[in-house]
C-alpha cells in the first residue's frame, strides 16, 4: 500500500506545482499615475500662434496649411508643451532641456505613484522605461534607478524608437518576466521627449508632429504577487502585437529623417491612414478570437458563410457585410489618441458610439497626443467618470511607427472610483459643450490673405 502512496504523492505534488505556477503568472496592475504638467506649460491658442510666427521659415502657404491642420486636430486650449518651447528656445534646444523635461515628469509622477501605493523603490524588481525619441548615456532608466536608489539586482530595460505603440510592448516584457519568476513587482515608465524632436523647418509633412504631440507620461506599477490580488486594479487577459515593418509602405509612412534643408523631423506620409488600417485589421483578426465570446464568433462565421452562399446564387443583390460586434466581449475602448482622424476611423471600423469614443476624444482635447502614454490618460478618464466596474473588460489599442499595431485586454478587478486621478480637478466640466478649436476664430482671417501682399511686421503682437 505504502509503495503506491509515495509515487502518487509525487505526482500530485508535481501537478500542484504546475497549477501553482499558473496562479503566480498573472499580470496585475496595482496602480498607475498619469503626468499632469504644471499650468505654466500650457500651450494656449495665442501662444501657438506666436510660436508659428517666430519660425521665420514659414510663409503664408504654410500658415494656411497649419490653420487647417490645427483646426481639425481635435486638440484644445489646455495641452502642455515642453519648457524650452515656452521659453522661446525651440530653435536651438540643448541636451539639458531634454533632460529637464524628463526630470520634471519623473520626479512628479513616479513620486506620486510610490506615495499612493505605499511601495518603496527598493521593492521594485523590474523597471521598463520607454521614451521613444531620446537615447542618452546613461539611459533614462539608469537615471531613475539613480534617483530612487533602487536595488543592484534590478532587471532594467530601456526601450526607444518604438513610437506611440510602445506601452503594450513594455507590458509584453513585464508579462514575460512574470511568467518566469514569482513575487515580482515591476514599474513601467512611459513618456515622450519633445525637446530634441521639435521640428524647425518648413516641410509640411514634418511640421504636423509639432501640432499634434504634447507633453505627457505615465508610470504604472504591476505585480504578479498573489497576495496583492485584492489591491489590484486590472488583470491582463491577453496581448497581441502586429508588426507590418515587412511592407515598405508601412515602414516608410512614419519616419524620422532630415528634410531638404537638413532639419531633422518626423515625416508623416500620406499613406499613413492606409498603413494604420491594414495593421489594425490584422491585429483585430488575431485578437478577436481570443477575446470575443464564442456565440459572437459563431454568429459572425455563420453570417459570412450565408453571405458567401447567397452571393454565389444571387449575384445581383448583395447583403450588407456582416460586422463583428466587438462590444459583446469588450465594455470599454481605450484608443490611442493619434488625432481626430485616427479616432474617427477606428470608431467607424469597430462600430463604436459617441459614448465609447468620448474618453479618447476628451483626452485628445485636453492633453493632445501624448504618444505612448495616451491610452493611460484615456483609461484615467473612464475611471474618473466612474465607468469601470468589477468584471468589465477594457480594450487598449495603439498604433506606432514601424508600422505596429499593439493591443491588449484588461479585466477590471474591482469597482474603481476616482481617488487621486489626473482628471480629478476638471472631470466635471467634461465633456464640454463644444470642442471646436478656437484657432479658426482667432486666425481664420489668414485664409483670406493673398500670398503676394501678405506681410507680418516684425513688431506685430498677436492680440
Amino acid at each position: 500500500m505504502f509503495s503506491y502512496c509515495f509515487p502518487l504523492l509525487c505526482l500530485f505534488y508535481n501537478l500542484w506545482k504546475i497549477f501553482d505556477r499558473r496562479r503566480h503568472q498573472n499580470c496585475y496592475i496595482l496602480d498607475y499615475e498619469c503626468y499632469k504638467p504644471s499650468d505654466d506649460k500650457k500651450l494656449s491658442t495665442r501662444f501657438c500662434g506666436e510660436v508659428i510666427r517666430r519660425n521665420k521659415q514659414l510663409g503664408l502657404n504654410e500658415y494656411k496649411f497649419l490653420l487647417k491642420a490645427i483646426v481639425s486636430s481635435g486638440i484644445g486650449e489646455d495641452t502642455y508643451g515642453p519648457r524650452m518651447v515656452l521659453e522661446g528656445r525651440e530653435m536651438s534646444p540643448t541636451l539639458e532641456d531634454a533632460i529637464i523635461e524628463m526630470d520634471d515628469f519623473f520626479l512628479d509622477t513616479i513620486d506620486k505613484l510610490f506615495n499612493k501605493t505605499g511601495i518603496s523603490p527598493s521593492e521594485i524588481d523590474v523597471l521598463v522605461v520607454n521614451i521613444s525619441m531620446l537615447a542618452i548615456v546613461p539611459s533614462l532608466s539608469s537615471r531613475i534607478i539613480h534617483h530612487y536608489k533602487m536595488r543592484e539586482d534590478i532587471k532594467v530595460y530601456n526601450l526607444t524608437g518604438m513610437g506611440c505603440s510602445a506601452s503594450p510592448i513594455a507590458i509584453n516584457i513585464v508579462q514575460n518576466i512574470f511568467k518566469t519568476q514569482r513575487n515580482v513587482q515591476a514599474l513601467i515608465v512611459t513618456s515622450e521627449s519633445l525637446s530634441l524632436g521639435w521640428y524647425t523647418g518648413k516641410d509640411r509633412s514634418m511640421i504636423l508632429t509639432n501640432c499634434l504631440f504634447r507633453s505627457g507620461g505615465c508610470a504604472i506599477l504591476l505585480t504578479n504577487k498573489v497576495a496583492l490580488k485584492e489591491k489590484a486594479m486590472f488583470k491582463l487577459k491577453c496581448l497581441v502585437r502586429t508588426h507590418h515593418g515587412a511592407k515598405d509602405e508601412s515602414y516608410d509612412c512614419c519616419k524620422q529623417k532630415e528634410d531638404d534643408q537638413g532639419y531633422e523631423g518626423v515625416h508623416l506620409g500620406k499613406n499613413l491612414p492606409k498603413a494604420a488600417t491594414r495593421a489594425f485589421v490584422d491585429n483585430l483578426k488575431e485578437i478577436a478570437p481570443k477575446i470575443l465570446p464564442v456565440r459572437e464568433l459563431l454568429r459572425f462565421t455563420l453570417l459570412t458563410l450565408i453571405r458567401k452562399m447567397t452571393q454565389k446564387y444571387n449575384k445581383t443583390g448583395a447583403a450588407a457585410r456582416p460586422v463583428i460586434n466587438f462590444k459583446t466581449g469588450i465594455d470599454h475602448f481605450c484608443l490611442h489618441t493619434g488625432g481626430k482622424a485616427v479616432i474617427d476611423a477606428v470608431a467607424q471600423n469597430l462600430n463604436l458610439s459617441e459614448y465609447d469614443i468620448e474618453p479618447a476624444r476628451m483626452t485628445l482635447h485636453r492633453f493632445g497626443n501624448t504618444s505612448a502614454s495616451s491610452i493611460w490618460y484615456v483609461l484615467a478618464y473612464m475611471q474618473a467618470k466612474k465607468r469601470l466596474k468589477k468584471g468589465n473588460k477594457v480594450f487598449m489599442i495603439s498604433f506606432g511607427a514601424g508600422f505596429k499595431c499593439n493591443s491588449c485586454l484588461w479585466e477590471v478587478m474591482r469597482d474603481l472610483d476616482q481617488d487621486g486621478n489626473v482628471w480629478k480637478e476638471f472631470i466635471n466640466s467634461y465633456p464640454p459643450k463644444t470642442i471646436d478649436n478656437p484657432f479658426f476664430e482667432k486666425y481664420g482671417w489668414i485664409n483670406e490673405e493673398d500670398p503676394d501682399t501678405f506681410h507680418i511686421p516684425d513688431d506685430y503682437v498677436i492680440p
Partner: protein
C-alpha cells in the same frame, strides 16, 4: 603558502565528495550481497510477489511523474551560432590617419591634439580599427542619413552572415532584440531589420538603447526570459553601436576620449530553445547575472553624456572609472560566485569569511580562483586599463585575457559586440573544446556590470569565415605599453 599538492588534494577531495561517499556505500552493499550467495538471492527474489497489474500501475506512475517533472523544468537556451561584422579595409583608421584628422579639425587646440595622441599611444588599439565613412570626412559629416547608412551596413552584414551560417529563414524568427546605445531613430532599428528581411507580422521585437557597453548581455537576458515562456522558438539578438552621430566634435579633453577608443562593430546572435537545435548549437546558456550600481552617485556619473561649454554633445568619462568598475565587478562576483564556483572554492571562501569575522579581521580576504570555474574569459574590451584591472582582480594569466587584448587591438572598443569578437578569437585559435565554460563580463554606463556563463555544447571546428579569418595567424601580437607616434 601551502604546498601545491596539498591544495590540489583538497580541491579534488571536496569537488568529488559525493563520489567519495558513494563508493564505500556501494562497496558495502555489494559485499553484503556477495556474502548471501546466489541461492539465497533467488529465494528472496521469488518471494516478492509480482502481479502484472501492480507492475503496470507502478511503471505508469513512474513515467507520468518523470514526464511531469521534465515538463516543469526551465527550458535550456542554446546559442545556435553568431556572426560578427568585419569592416571593409577602406574604412580602417591607422594612427597616422587619426592624428592627421585630429590636427586638422582641432587646429585651434594643440593641447587637445596632444592629449589624443597620448591616449592613442597607450590605448592598446592597433592600426586596423575602423570608423564609419561619415567620420572620414574633414570635418566629419554626421547626418541622420549617414547614421542610418552605417546602421544598415553593419547590422545587415552581420545578419546576412548569420543566416548563411545557420541556414535559418527570416520567416522562422520569432523574437528580435536590437540593442544600440546611442542611435535611436524612429522607426526603430528593430523595425528596420523587420523591414529589410520581411520578418513575420507577429514577431516580438524590442529595441533597447542607452544601456551602454553591457547592453549585449541585457539583450541575452531578455531573450532568455522570452524563450522560457515561448516554447519551440528562436530569437535573433543584434548588438551594435553606431558611431556616426556620436563622434564628439568639440575640444573638451575628457570627452575626446571616446573618440579615440570606440570603433565600428556589430554582432548578430541566434538563440533557440528548440529540441532540434540541441545538437547543432555551439553553446548553452547557463547563467546571466546583472548588477546595477546606479543608486551610487559616483557610479551613475562616471559615464555621462552631456554638452560641453560650446554646446557640443559628447560622453564624459570620469577618472574614477576603474575604481567603480572594480566595485561593480565585486558585486557581480558575489552573486555569480556561488552559482559557478566548485565546492572547494566556496568552502575556502566561507572559511576565510568566518575566520575574518570571528577570529582576526586582519586575514586577507580570499579571492576565489575563478580559473577553476571557467576555461575561457571574455572581458569587454573597454580599454587597456579595464582589462589590466580585471586581470589583476581575478588573478588571470596573460593567456586568459589574450582574447580581450587582441580584440581591442584589432577592432578597438566595439561596445556591446566586443564580447562576440573575443569569443570568435578563441574559436579561431582552435582553443574551444566541448564542455568548456566561458565567462563573458561587460561593463556599461549606469553603472552596470553584467555577466553571462556559457558552456560549449559540441566540438567546434576552427572557423574558416568570420572577422579573424585573414589575420588570426598574426595574432597574438605583443602590444607595447606605449606606441611612439
Amino acid at each position: 603558502m601551502l604546498p601545491k599538492y596539498v591544495k590540489l588534494g583538497y580541491r579534488y577531495l571536496v569537488d568529488h565528495i559525493l563520489t567519495f561517499l558513494f563508493i564505500p556505500i556501494m562497496a558495502a552493499v555489494s559485499i553484503q550481497i556477495l556474502r548471501l550467495g546466489p541461492e539465497e538471492i533467488l529465494t528472496i527474489w521469488n518471494s516478492l510477489q509480482f502481479y502484472f497489474f501492480q507492475i503496470l500501475c507502478s511503471s505508469f506512475l513512474v513515467t507520468l511523474i518523470a514526464t511531469v517533472y521534465f515538463m516543469s523544468k526551465p527550458r535550456s537556451i542554446y546559442l545556435v551560432d553568431y556572426a560578427c561584422y568585419k569592416p571593409p579595409i577602406t574604412s580602417r583608421v591607422p594612427f597616422s590617419t587619426f592624428m592627421e584628422h585630429s590636427r586638422l579639425i582641432l587646429k585651434d587646440n594643440p593641447k587637445s591634439v596632444e592629449f589624443q595622441m597620448r591616449i592613442l599611444e597607450r590605448s592598446g588599439l592597433g592600426e586596423e580599427t575602423s570608423l564609419p565613412p561619415a567620420i572620414h570626412y574633414i570635418p566629419p559629416n554626421p547626418t541622420m542619413e549617414a547614421a542610418r547608412g552605417e546602421a544598415e551596413a553593419v547590422i545587415f552584414s552581420a545578419i546576412d552572415s548569420l543566416m548563411q551560417k545557420t541556414r535559418i529563414k527570416p520567416k522562422d524568427i520569432d523574437i528580435l532584440i536590437v540593442n544600440c546605445s546611442l542611435f535611436s531613430p524612429t522607426p526603430s532599428l528593430s523595425a528596420m531589420v523587420v523591414n529589410k528581411y520581411r520578418l513575420r507580422s507577429n514577431i516580438k521585437s524590442f529595441n533597447l538603447s542607452g544601456m551602454g557597453c553591457s547592453a549585449g548581455l541585457i539583450s541575452i537576458d531578455l531573450a532568455r526570459d522570452l524563450l522560457q515562456v515561448h516554447p519551440n522558438s528562436n530569437a535573433l539578438v543584434v548588438s551594435t553601436e553606431i558611431i556616426t552621430p556620436n563622434y564628439y566634435q568639440g575640444s573638451e579633453r575628457a570627452m575626446l576620449l571616446p573618440n579615440c577608443l570606440f570603433r565600428v562593430g556589430s554582432a548578430a546572435i541566434l538563440l533557440s530553445n528548440k529540441r532540434g537545435d540541441r545538437n547543432r548549437a555551439k553553446y548553452k546558456l547557463v547563467h546571466v547575472v546583472r548588477t546595477h550600481k546606479g543608486a551610487d552617485d559616483k557610479a551613475y556619473k562616471c559615464v555621462y553624456e552631456q554638452e560641453d561649454p560650446q554646446g557640443k554633445v559628447g560622453i564624459n568619462l570620469s577618472k574614477d572609472l576603474m575604481i567603480i568598475a572594480g566595485e561593480a565587478l565585486k558585486s557581480n562576483i558575489t552573486t555569480i560566485g556561488p552559482l559557478v564556483l566548485p565546492a572547494s572554492e566556496q568552502l575556502l571562501f566561507l572559511f576565510t569569511l568566518i575566520g575574518r569575522k570571528i577570529f582576526n579581521s586582519k586575514w586577507k580576504p580570499y579571492i576565489p580562483d575563478f580559473k577553476q570555474a571557467f576555461e575561457h574569459f571574455c572581458i569587454h574590451a573597454g580599454g587597456r586599463a579595464v582589462i589590466d584591472e580585471l586581470q589583476k582582480n581575478l588573478q588571470l594569466s596573460a593567456e586568459h585575457v589574450e582574447a580581450s587584448r587582441m580584440t581591442l587591438h584589432r577592432f578597438g572598443n566595439t561596445s556591446s559586440s566586443s564580447l562576440w569578437y573575443e569569443l570568435s578569437y578563441i574559436e579561431a585559435k582552435g582553443r574551444m573544446k566541448k564542455g568548456d565554460r566561458i565567462w563573458q563580463i561587460a561593463f556599461g554606463s549606469g553603472f552596470k556590470c553584467n555577466s553571462a556563463v556559457w558552456k560549449c555544447n559540441r566540438r567546434i571546428k576552427t572557423p574558416t569565415d568570420g572577422p579573424w579569418q585573414d589575420c588570426i595567424n598574426r595574432y597574438p601580437v605583443h602590444i607595447p605599453e606605449i606606441v611612439k607616434l
